[in-house]
Subunit: 394 residues, 2 copies
């Protein structure tokens, strides 16, 4: 079955000439996403290569239908021959994109600009059986795919799972234990008749943010998911970081030697101190109402001394993990996703203060933002994967 080609790496083998063509084509199309409609000269300037090097690549992409020339546009300078902006052509179809989470599934069609169309959702109870989840996902995907007025390049699925790389059986899925052993992905690929690509949800966030989101201009950043668990997709030099095909499990770094036991068997994992579970337990301990379903935003709204205290500790716990991440992998731009975002400006201020206090020593301060797109970024990321695959094969 197909594997995501979004990263590449070899050490013992030889590099071939064709690989550089594929890499440059993808890079060029990504530059186009970043810049919007842009001329050959624009692209050449961005890549710092002569215009003549861009032209043949563009010609090939136009011939294959990946690009089209738009009407001559008036650039900033009125002098000289007007530039002919390039944009995605008919061959770059839309993608069908799915995001599975604990209590439901989102599905949408995503176009080449990262615009989301026909977004639909199906909810299911958090204790739903595998069969219920599977049928919900399948019918939703078939509906969206069936209604698409555009040709679809493929289907992308983002979920918080670990799966068998060969037959796509779910090996583990902490947020949705019922899915373990499920062959959902296999059936989904067959049902829709489209190429299917799977991706971990945190990694999908990073991909979506880099291609269509708030990290379009960043080669190095980290997309962090903070909700009932903690995960991250690490973008390094424009490539999604992984070692031997496996992604890091950042939620399970120990930040408190004597902390509470974690489901992973260790104690004091970041996840036990900065995810929703900790926040709600602390809320309960402090006697705050509705602690069972409290979100960071609720704590902010509460604004009692006890709640303020809780919020500050929460921010500190998140900050510690982020700074650790900055120190161990060297990324220092963080884009946060998940329920944390509900904390809004007050929580963000606290976070930044704690991060600042913990990085007096280092030369480069980490920066942190709450994602506007939030979970939509995962849909975008899932949509990018078939797109990249199509371009690479061309």
């Amino acid at each position: 079955m197909t594997a995501s080609g979004i990263e590449r790496g070899l050490s013992t083998g030889l590099l071939t000439v064709s690989q550089i063509g594929a890499s440059n084509r993808v890079g060029l199309l990504h530059s186009l996403v970043r810049l919007g409609p842009a001329s050959r000269s624009d692209l050449a300037r961005l890549a710092k290569v002569p215009r003549g090097s861009i032209a043949p690549i563009v010609t090939g992409l136009i011939e294959d239908g990946f690009l089209v020339e738009l009407e001559p546009a008036n650039g900033p300078s009125k002098m000289g021959k007007p530039s002919r902006p390039l944009w995605f052509g008919p061959r770059v179809g839309h993608s069908c994109s799915l995001r599975v989470e604990a209590t439901g599934v989102d599905c949408a069609r995503v176009d080449q600009r990262g615009q989301v169309h026909d977004l639909r959702r199906a909810d299911f109870p958090s204790d739903a059986s595998a069969a219920v989840i599977e049928s919900a996902v399948l019918s939703l995907a078939e509906t969206v795919a069936g209604r698409s007025p555009e040709p679809l390049t493929g289907l992308g699925l983002a979920w918080p799972a670990v799966w068998d790389p060969v037959d796509w059986t779910v090996l583990s899925c902490t947020p949705i234990p019922a899915l373990v052993g499920s062959g959902l992905a296999r059936r989904l690929g067959q049902a829709c008749g489209l190429d299917l690509f799977l991706e971990d949800d945190a990694r999908a966030l990073a991909i979506g943010q880099r291609w269509f989101g708030e990290a379009r201009d960043l080669d190095n950043f980290s997309a962090v998911q903070i909700s009932t668990g903690i995960g991250a997709g690490l973008m390094v030099d424009g490539k999604l970081f992984s070692v031997e095909g496996r992604s890091p499990e950042v939620g399970h770094m120990v930040v408190d030697l004597d902390g509470a036991p974690c489901r992973c068997g260790r104690s004091g994992c970041w996840e036990t101190l900065a995810a929703l579970g900790w926040l709600r337990q602390e809320a309960r301990r402090l006697g705050l109402p509705q602690w069972e379903t409290a979100l960071p935003g609720d704590i902010v709204a509460w604004s009692s001394p006890a709640a303020d205290q809780l919020l500050d500790s929460y921010a500190r716990n998140i900050a510690i993990g982020l700074v650790n991440l900055a120190n161990t992998v060297g990324l220092h731009r963080f884009l946060l996703h998940g329920e944390v975002v509900s904390g809004g400006e007050p929580l963000l201020r606290l976070l930044r203060r704690h991060i600042g206090a913990q990085t007096t020593w280092s030369e480069t301060k980490p920066t942190v933002e709450f994602s506007e797109l939030n979970q939509t970024a995962a849909l975008l990321g899932a949509a990018v994967i078939p797109l990249v695959h199509t371009i690479e094969r061309a």
Copy 2:
């Protein structure tokens, strides 16, 4: 001034044809280091490419003097035309290699096989002035370089410092504060008349281990230095990992929320719990003699209940950081360097037990070894850098 070309990465620019040639040449020579003298066919098999693809590369390298053909050797199979093993030629000279640490400097000549020749050391007091250190380093380097019977490709320097990338002034150097502001590197380059390459000591360990050391066959591993501080060089896909040219500072991840303050301004950094300082303070607390200079090996030798307890805690503290590293960057082979190694088999057993206990959840257990080469690996790593540079330029 020259910069280490041992890693490469681009995202917005285009890949060129020559780059793949350079990359393949370096890869081929590194394969030769791994295999020892090997024929074109051997190299082709390793790289999984047709023999015809190797031949022209080898021909070019022979013409440039980087390789020579040895006498026909009897391979495992007696049939067929005997293979002609290849080995490094006269153009691949030896390197002069330096390692600066808190109390002295090592210098040696390193050949193309990673053999160390003419190893010399100059000690200086730990409170030595910059002038004293500089003259010791300069005279040692001049001695070794002057005595070399072989042509030298360049000079490599490994040290625990951060330096200005433009003029090589030392910006910070925790183990040797006197060096801050020093222009030692500048003068060293001028004095010897050789190309000089600088590298962080932990990163040099990783490079040395991969080219000539115990990690010759590993594309993914982590060389960890555990002595008065903690640092690591991370090898990912055969390339030294760095983000935007800066390496991670793994010693400063927080593993204990309520821990002791660290010089970096945070509290409970790994370095405060797993470096020599912690061990000695605890030894003092437990009333062990000679705690000021105690090494892990001394604690092992002591073998009182209190000492055993201390050793176990030490192993646990190291293990926590290693497992964190495994979780955050995904590397799970650790090669340990520094004074830890004196702990020998007993400490290693404890380490492995703690690591095992903390990774019940994950699919792949991290493995940990004490390096036989230990600090010599840094000398080897520093020697590799001029070598790679010479080959890439060819």
